[in-house]
Amino acid sequence: MKRSANFEPRYTHLTQERLMELREKLISVIEHITFGLRIHYLLKVFILQFVTLFLTFQFSNPLTIPIGNQTVFQGSYLLISALLLGVTGIFVKDMCVRTFNPILHQWTNILLSVVLYLLISMIVVLLGFVSLIIASSGISGIGLFDIISGIFFTTVFSSLLAVGYHERMESINHPMKSNIQESFLNWQRHLSWVEYDDSAHEKKEKRVEFEKACEDLVELLRNSNTSQGKQLHSDFVDWWEKYSTHEPLGKEIIIMGQDKHEIRNEEFDEEHRSFMDLKDRITNISSSYDD
């Protein structure tokens, strides 16, 4: 009995860890579509698209309209689909690079986002369009025209969703990629104040400029929507608030780190570690724009 009592908390702990991991993965996948914005819009569009398709085909009689020149029709639909796919790609890429999550800036993740947009739209098409054809004519009833129409509907819905989310991002005045890049580079540039000699007149001026860049960064990061971006904002504010309490000498030690010695000021060490971690994260986002 005692043994099982000992095992139980460990098992619970492992399950909780696993659940946390799964939760993080799920959030990461959802953020490839919502970019940290509310999921409600995705659900709204998803339901509306499904309803639109269902109603379109439920009340159209006959289901297929006779078309004279099939090749031109199919070619036009494929061309429009390609254009809509491009629209989806452009809007999704812009949203990806405007997040404060460097993972979303990677090409593979931008592609994954586009694929997820297409996948969601494909689910609507499969449920609302293909299933209706199968129900009425069987699986053999799916012809080339239906496949092309399916592709067309998929790209229409995915571009609608992408434009919709992009519009949401614009409506909350989310900073543009160029603003983010400039603010991050500006902050990194102004870190050089610590390199000036203590007697150099411009040292104070450079430090004040760095602190202004910090304040600007706090404001910029306030726009974070993704979980990584929100975490970066919160960690930066925590560090900035502590840093601001120090006199210039302490501020410099926090940025530069303490010299190698057997004994160290633990508080300074902790704040320096936080600074280095933030610097790495900011550099990571900043350098992701160079790729």
């Binding site: 000699d197 203590d198 007697s199 007149h201 040292k203 104070k204 430090r207 309490t245 120090h246 006199e247 210039p248 000498l249 302490g250 501020k251 410099e252 030690i253 303490q258 010299d259 190698k260 010695h261 057997e262 004994i263 160290r264 000021n265 633990e266 508080e267 300074f268």
Partner: protein, 178 residues
């Protein structure tokens, strides 16, 4: 790096720095970090915070940096020359010896020496060389003299604010900070 204070309100709150010039991590069997912690915990009021740091030997002669600390603690055991080389301090601390001998530290700075395991002759040489500096023989004495100095430079009182302002701007004058 130090900013000039324009009026007394600039001194509240204030963070003072203690520079500990020591190669060993302990003094009289106590870790330097725990001695400083004890001092920090005994600072009255909430307007003054203390931060210490430990420069390596090669930076112990950085005058521009040293004068920005209102408290200097020197572990004499590390600085003093064990050979009869003609100088009291070791070669690497000679500049520091000159700073102390010529009183190149600000008037309101607290410079304290602590001795752990030096001979009586060495201790009396230190006393002769730096007659105006206080030498701590015990951990409690070191804590006491630092606290005594800080009590006078605590922005909880107007007198403390004046002392901080005077010390701060004295350092700015020396460094040429406008």
């Amino acid at each position: 790096m130090i900013d000039r204070y324009n009026n007394l309100s600039d001194t509240v709150p204030h963070e003072e720095y203690i520079v500990c010039i020591t190669e060993s991590s302990t003094y009289k069997g106590h870790k330097f970090s725990s001695i400083i912690k004890e001092i920090k915990n005994r600072v009255p009021g909430d307007k003054l915070t203390l931060q210490e740091y430990y420069p390596p030997v090669e930076k112990s002669n950085d005058y521009d940096r040293l004068i920005q600390n209102s408290v200097w603690i020197l572990n004499i055991d590390d600085c003093i020359s064990s050979t009869d080389s003609g100088t009291l301090f070791k070669q690497e601390y000679l500049e520091l010896q000159i700073f102390l001998k010529t009183r190149r530290y600000p008037d309101d700075a607290g410079v304290f020496l602590c001795v752990d395991d030096v001979t009586m002759t060495q201790k009396s040489k230190v006393k002769q060389t730096f007659p105006e500096l206080t030498i701590a023989d015990t951990k409690d004495m070191l804590v006491g003299i630092v606290l005594g100095h800080i009590a006078d430079a605590n922005p909880v009182s107007t007198r403390g604010q004046e002392k901080i302002l005077s010390w701060n701007n004295d350092v700015c004058d020396t460094l040429g900070v406008p």
